[in-house]
Symmetry: C2
Subunit: 534 residues, 2 copies
């Protein structure tokens, strides 16, 4: 017997019997997303509290490969890797105004000296602080800094395993420019790099859509969406001309009003909202067959709103004062949605309606679809928002002081792990793309207690390990359990060694996700793997 | 002109003119340690608050190389990499009792739902949680898990740049065993691996000494010390027999009492302490010429103590009750130090004295020295402390439930960066060991505006970049400034290209830390670098 079989002694040998973590058949009670289920069942993750997980070795290995692909792509467009703190002093975020403007998803606390600190959920302030120290004249520009780092966001709705975490790993990048044109040019380049990243990690289906910039601010923003029924974002899509937009910013041609259909109720709906933490009320007038998109409304108001009530009327004069929470209040904002153009008159119409599948594309008039998606990245043209608020300037060529123009670019690394499973799985487990698989070859030794099987399996393991990452299932289990675990580990290539084939001159090889195995000559296995992985 | 010269366009080219961060001559006002000074002056780090730093690209590159060396060594003894959360639920630490027993260096706070959370400064609880889920029978043992992760410790005395941070990166490893013997065997192996790590990163001078286990608990603990005048630890050393111990646990032969010398004052010193946060007083009786080591005392008491007062007397009966804070208290612990054996009688003597350079080695009777050192690692035989407190058992062979026996093993990665500078520098800057240098070759192009110099420098850069990490100083600066910055970047090999030598068939090469340069034929430079780096 070889030293390979002694747990902590084995140097380069990964034995499934020694792999920490259990693979299980049971579907966890509290999981509904397939990625959540398979990451739990496959021994990839362990929950420690709402949105807080430990990652086990297979997940760490997938994660590191994703990170290295991202790092390569960031370096390729001149990115310089930095590492910014997880815990930041509150005074830094006071400078940008975000210490107080961001809601309770920003976790603030006091240190031993009662100084206000926070867990960074994004790092614009920290990176502008670097620019302030080190990029004081125009000749220091442009530059791009990035990091791959732990972030914390006190999510009220942590869910789905690694999909929406409170503590997560993110690649965040920040570019600094002297002109809007330079930012735009770089932003376009980053857009391409993002597609490279998704392609390289095995998610070529990701699409880029226009989005709302939210608390980040700035004018132009895009998000990268993986279409997926389990996604929590809604994306409006035109299959004909390719128009795509997040429901939060989507526009459409609304079909003309069918008054017969709504004869009984009226034609105008009034939706009432309260501004959170304030007395003010917001009333939205909208066509009766449409809904208000709260994200659009919040962007208009500039504050968070909560829904109170709605009423249907036939014309504006009909609305009774008693409909409002405080009928006597002067503290009331009224918006008339653009869907009411032609139905009631106003000086000003606003876009607050929610696009739905009865609407048509503005560009080509085709029918629109609303699809679900997971956001796997976002990029923002921030402009001077942060440099201006933090009063950080550089000396321009003509000696004036000017504000640098910023872009920022995020990818959730931990979420990508889950997204890969959502996109690539069958009913037995994940099907890892070859660029990010936890190991490259999974050897199933059936009857490891048989000397011939054992010796051949170990020999093959050692032979392949020189060039590939190999894991060897050395357990004395029923064949069905061994194959089930192989499926849960999701490694692209499985080689089975059994009493029947151990001494033959071929190997029984199967691709993960395909049903039948095929034979590869032992003498050609290295070439076969080389061709597959390179 | 090539694309190489356009900042964010350059793909594989690292130009010093584009490297983010500034190198400066000025010695920072608030820095006294050489590592702190050089890491600031060389553009490696930027402070964001007490003990909180951003790392710039050169530091990130050194750090990653250190991490990869550690990872290799951990994998080589069967370690499995995991990733445990930075933010942990308070309930987890309640199970071990440490939620309340650890002082204010443990940062606790409440999340949006008012749940108690903490920033992990160590991960015993989180890893025992994993063992509870995944290591339930004896056949799952032994195993070792490790991670390289951000930690936060709310240090009251953050100091010295990366030496004592509040937020830092640590490799922490945890091994689980079925028997004490297995733990001891593995512990010895880890001890060797630690020496491998220090040797590989270029710190072969690190020594291993016995230490106090502190808040970690357990019986046996060692720490790894880099001797260094700026270190904050004191180590007792016998140059003759090799005895080494932290002052906190060191023992010695105390020279016999010279009563003449102390005739005026007395022969017994009584030192009074209060137990922090309690009413209780502690009085230590010790020989007048010795001091109490507070770490020894705290370990005896099991609580933190603070010094109140002392008095010198001639015999125990002389001590007046008014010496105590509360003369009537019954809440008083008294310790007679072993130095009083033969001077005053007691049933029980305790080891609380502090060894000093007048003492002799217990093993060989040679004179002892007290040296300063930086702790660059520590390892602990924890035993069952955490598994027992958290009530986590496994099923033993005979079906009984038993507590697993643990070891834990830490290395501060960020501190290692600073320690490398403390150990390896001259008056011009750091001298990075070749295994962890931020880049491998530093090309200084003197007069980059000269076409011949520029073309030859770029050609050399491109040629060497295929196999090595190269940075090219393309700035149009005074030669002194270019060389000064090269010294601050501390790259092992500098190649100078000037108008004088650009077209010659040799290159002017200098080792960092040596005074004179030497010539290497252009045709042999790759071989020269290969020999140096491999």
């Amino acid at each position: 017997m070889r030293s390979i079989l002694v747990g902590l002694e084995s140097v380069f040998c990964m034995l499934l019997s020694k792999l920490f973590g259990k693979r299980t058949k049971e579907v966890p009670a509290d999981a509904s997303l397939m990625s959540h289920i398979f990451l739990l069942r496959g021994g990839y993750i362990k929950s420690l509290g709402s949105g807080i997980y430990s990652l086990l070795t297979p997940a760490v290995r997938v994660k590191r490969k994703i990170e290295n692909i991202i790092r390569e792509e960031m370096d390729a467009i001149g990115g310089q890797e930095v590492s910014l703190p997880v815990v930041l002093p509150g005074t830094l975020w006071e400078r940008s105004g975000r210490l107080f403007s961001v809601g309770s998803e920003l976790l603030r606390f006091r240190d031993r000296t009662s100084r206000c600190m926070l867990l960074a959920m994004t790092h614009e302030e920290a990176v502008v602080d670097l620019a302030e120290s080190f990029a004081q004249t125009y000749s220091d520009y442009p530059f791009m800094l990035y990091q791959i780092q732990t972030k914390f966001r006190d999510e009220p709705r942590a869910r789905g395993g690694l999909i929406r975490l409170r503590e997560f790993t993110m690649k965040d990048a920040y570019s600094f420019h002297l002109s809007k044109e330079d930012l735009k040019r770089y932003y376009e380049k980053m857009l391409k790099v993002y597609h490279n990243i998704y392609k390289k990690i095995g998610l070529p289906e990701v699409v880029c859509i226009q989005s709302d910039s939210g608390i980040m601010g700035g004018d132009v923003a895009h998000e990268f969406m993986l279409f997926c029924d389990s996604g929590e974002d809604s994306i409006v899509v035109c299959d004909n001309c390719g128009y795509k937009a997040n429901l939060e910013v989507a526009e459409s041609l609304i079909p003309s009003f069918d008054s017969k259909k709504f004869l009984d109720s009226g034609k105008i709906k009034v939706c009432l909202y309260k501004i959170k933490g304030q007395e003010a009320e917001v009333a939205v007038f909208i066509r009766v067959d449409l809904s208000v998109n709260e994200s659009k409304l919040q962007k208009l108001v500039g504050e968070q709103v909560s829904y109170v009530n709605n009423v249907v009327i036939d014309n504006l004069g009909e609305l009774s004062a008693s409909f409002f929470v405080d009928p006597d209040s002067n503290n009331r904002i009224i918006f008339i949605d653009i869907s009411l153009k032609g139905i009631c008159e106003s000086n000003d119409y606003f876009d607050v309606y929610e696009v739905n599948e009865k609407h048509f594309c503005r560009c080509c008039k085709s029918a629109l679809k609303v699809r679900r998606g997971i956001e796997v990245g976002n990029i923002f043209q921030l402009g001077v928002k942060y440099t201006k608020r933090m009063k950080v300037t550089y000396q321009a060529k003509d000696n004036h002081r000017d504000f640098a123009i910023m872009g920022c670019y995020g990818i959730g690394v931990t979420r990508l792990i889950a997204s890969l499973v959502e996109a690539k799985h069958d009913k037995f487990g994940p099907i890892w793309p070859k660029s990010v698989c936890p190991w490259q070859v999974h050897i199933c030794a059936l009857s490891f207690d048989d000397t011939v099987v054992r010796e051949n399996a170990i020999k093959l393991h050692d032979y392949l390990s020189k060039k590939f990452e190999v894991i060897l299932d050395d357990r004395d289990l029923h064949i069905g359990s061994q194959f089930a675990d192989a499926d849960l580990l999701g490694i692209p290539i499985r080689i089975t060694i059994s009493k029947n084939n151990a001494e033959k001159d071929f190997l029984e090889v199967k691709f993960r996700g395909e049903h039948s195995s095929f034979k590869v000559k032992k003498s050609e296995i290295l070439k076969f793997l080389d061709d597959f992985y390179n």
